[in-house]
């Protein structure tokens, strides 16, 4: 009898186990590759949200904390046929690495999704300015931002008060501030020519002010080079030359060979009065800045007779992209909406000292000035006006070297415009 019961139990177990395992296998698993590393404050906020999402939705999120090289890391996996649903990175890298290869899913539908427990749609909660520059001509959007980055001239409010300096709004006022700082024994502007991100900031902001957003992107792709014949490119070149040691000598001493993080350290130590950088700078410099250091930021100055919107400002967010034909596309998009809940946005601000795209969550105090400039902006533009992502080889072979020449003072404004035109024509002559 005992034996019979045992056999029946075993048979039943054999029948039940496959169904149980089927049930376990059926639990959907989102494959998420992240740009953050284990232990970073940003990673910890996302990890918390993942744990809550798994509990609430009864799903699993298989997350790989890959680090900044995430778009390269997914390449071999995709080629091997592995399913990847969700990736996060800066908008430029998502557009240049993933969307450019036609493997991004449109994220427009996420804007229409409800944010869990809030009864509001994503598009009603996040500021349009935080993703507007990334909406393509056909209306497609390939990123939903969760962190917002902008750029401007950073300064120590305490220092400016001591020297009785008001943040400038026009180019003339900017030159006057630079003069006052020089007189006070400081280098006006911390700068490092050998760090690409620093090298690029001032040129494209100048171009955006003088020619307007999209002008650099259009000129980069103009095979005839005609767009660089616009006389306003000479004006851009003249402004860039003015920053150099042979122009109005606004940059710090030794800037031609200076590399990250030296310029930002010089600025934080009050050896230089200003520093043009992204809104991530308080995160990086806070530990080195004394308690008396008060972060201030003003947007790029305006020029007389400028073509563009004087309120225009860079907005290059970090966000989520879902891959086209991902097995769990819908669920991955639900996670994106889930992460935009107010509680996580607040953690993002408080724990990582970054801005969130949510309109109802204020920026950390270090970023209030730049957040205000963003809110006032009628138009936004992409980092580098999108040329690094859209025309990466042109960016590396033409743009950066010519910028190096003009910012070193080796060429003037007229030569700058001519070189940009000639090198662009030569570049495209042998390429598709």
């Amino acid at each position: 009898m005992y034996k019979k019961a045992m056999v029946v139990t075993l048979l039943l177990a054999l029948c039940v186990v496959p169904f149980t395992s089927c049930g376990a296998a059926a639990k959907p698993t989102i494959s998420y590759w992240s740009m953050w590393n284990k232990g970073e404050p940003q990673q910890r906020v996302i990890e918390r949200a993942i744990a809550d999402f798994e509990k609430e939705y009864g799903v699993k999120v298989d997350v790989k904390w890959t680090g900044r090289d995430v778009t390269n890391a997914i390449k071999p996996r995709l080629l091997a046929g592995e399913n990847i649903d969700l990736v996060d990175q800066s908008a430029e890298e998502l557009y240049g690495g993933v969307a450019a290869n036609g493997i991004s899913s449109r994220m427009n539908d996420v804007l229409e999704m409800q944010i869990p427990h809030e009864g509001k749609k994503v598009k009603d909660v996040i500021g349009r300015e935080t993703y507007d520059a990334y909406v393509r001509k056909d209306g497609s959007l390939y990123i939903i931002p969760y962190s917002v980055v902008s750029a401007g001239f950073w300064y120590n409010k305490v220092l400016f008060r001591e020297l009785n300096i008001e943040p400038p709004t026009t180019w003339e006022q900017f030159l006057s501030v630079a003069g006052k700082l020089r007189k006070a024994g400081l280098d006006p502007l911390a700068f490092g020519l050998q760090t690409e991100v620093y090298r690029g900031y001032i040129p494209y902001h100048t171009a955006m002010r003088i020619l307007g957003p999209g002008s650099l992107n259009a000129a980069a792709s103009d095979r005839t080079g005609k767009l660089f014949e616009d006389p306003r490119w000479v004006e851009v070149g003249n402004i860039l030359y003015a920053f150099s040691k042979k122009g109005k000598n606004i940059f710090m001493e030794g800037y031609e060979s200076s590399v990250y993080p030296a310029p930002q350290m010089d600025w934080i130590m009050d050896r230089a009065g200003m520093f043009f950088c992204g809104s991530w700078i308080p995160v990086e410099t806070r530990p080195a800045a004394g308690p008396d250091f008060e972060y201030g930021c003003f947007p790029f100055p305006v020029f007389k007779g400028q073509n563009g919107d004087p309120t225009a400002i860079e907005c290059s967010p970090f966000g989520f992209g879902v891959l086209k034909n991902a097995k769990n596309e819908g669920l991955a998009k639900e996670f994106v909406a889930f992460f935009l809940q107010k509680k996580y946005a607040e953690s993002w601000v408080n724990d990582t000292m970054n801005m969130t795209p949510r309109k109802d969550v204020p920026a950390p105090k270090e970023l209030r000035d730049i957040r205000l400039s963003l809110s006032k902006a009628k138009t936004t533009f992409r980092k580098d006006d999108g040329v690094q992502a859209d025309y990466p080889q042109w960016y590396a072979a033409v743009y950066l070297p010519v910028l190096g020449d003009v910012l070193s003072g080796n060429i003037n404004g007229t030569q700058f415009a001519r070189q940009m035109r000639d090198e662009t024509v030569k570049f495209w002559a042998h390429r598709k």
Binding site: R68, G102, T195, E256, P261, A396
Partner: protein, 309 residues
């Protein structure tokens, strides 16, 4: 019936075959096959993200002819071969001369170890350290020059003008330490009797070094020249880490060799070039260039009279 010798030959051949076949298979899988695949990929326009590949024939090779960054990376590689080769072999020979003249073995070992130590440290760590040493504002080199009243010699070592020399100095520092071990091992093989004969003829230490040590180190020098030539084109970690301006910047074009440029073309850092097909064509050119240079070097050395002992 087979004779004993025929059986031995048969068995010997089977043994050789058994020993060679696995190595040959590994070689085909890990060397020949990837080279053949790279050659195949080099004929396509391909990002490496998807399996969509567009056949463009020799288009990638034609594009290289007008690619300024590619040309500068080849030129930089050749500059590393020439300047680096002269400096490394020259300095290594001088150290060999100095160290072989030490009487104390302990002192010899100590100096050799000190020189070799950088080779035991991660290339990235060394490259970053070198960047700090050469930092314009607070680097050890400029600070020391200022401290001893030679501030006029301080330079922006990491700027476009000087960065090639700065990178070269890093590579020379590392490779001298490596080659010194090889040269000293070679010098130790030279029979003492030759030095004693030279001493009887009244030769000075320097004379003994130039007429006995250097000629008899010919094979070692040839090998080091070949190794350095290959390294100049394919060395990666030091240049990649040293030349980057930080914050995701690509290494400066002024110091990129072909291997670094190839990697940036295939994968990029912040600049998403992603042209795996084009980078494969570069890899083919790299292979051909290195093979040609090694052949030239071997021929040059063959023309020098070999001295046996």
């Amino acid at each position: 019936m087979l004779s004993d010798s025929a059986m031995f030959n048969n068995r010997y051949q089977r043994f050789i075959l058994a020993a060679v076949v696995p190595v040959f298979i590994v070689y085909v899988i890990f060397m020949i096959f990837p080279i053949a695949r790279s050659l195949y990929y080099s004929l396509f326009d391909w990002s490496g993200f998807t399996t969509n590949m567009e056949y463009i024939g020799l288009g990638n090779y034609a594009e290289m002819a007008s690619d300024k960054l590619f040309a500068s990376s080849v030129l930089n590689s050749l500059k590393y071969v020439a300047f680096g080769g002269v400096l490394i072999i020259g300095i290594t020979l001088l150290f060999t001369y100095a160290i072989t003249s030490y009487k104390s073995k302990k002192l010899k070992d100590f100096v050799q170890t000190i020189l070799f130590v950088p080779n035991t440290i991660s290339p990235v760590a060394l490259a970053l350290l070198w960047g700090f040493v050469l930092n314009t504002r607070w680097g050890l080199v400029n600070s020391s020059l200022k401290a001893i009243g030679l501030g006029t010699l301080a330079r922006g070592w990491l700027g476009d003008e000087h960065i090639f020399g700065a990178a070269l100095s890093l590579l020379v520092w590392i490779h001298v330490g490596f080659f010194i071990v090889v040269y000293l091992a070679g010098a130790d093989r030279i029979p003492r009797s030759l030095y004693e004969a030279a001493e009887l003829d009244g030769a000075s230490d320097w004379k003994k070094f130039t007429t006995v040590t250097v000629p008899l180190l010919r094979d070692v020098i040839e090998t080091s020249v070949v190794l350095w030539t290959i390294s100049s084109f394919k060395i990666f970690g030091y240049i990649y880490a040293f030349g980057s301006g930080g914050c995701g910047s690509d290494p400066s074009p002024a110091i990129r060799n072909l291997a670094v440029h190839l990697y940036l073309t295939a994968f990029g850092k912040r600049t998403p070039i992603n042209r795996l097909g084009y980078a494969s064509a570069m890899a083919m050119i790299l292979l051909v260039l290195v093979a040609m240079l090694v052949c030239v070097i071997r021929r040059l050395f063959r023309s020098v009279e070999r001295i046996e002992y």
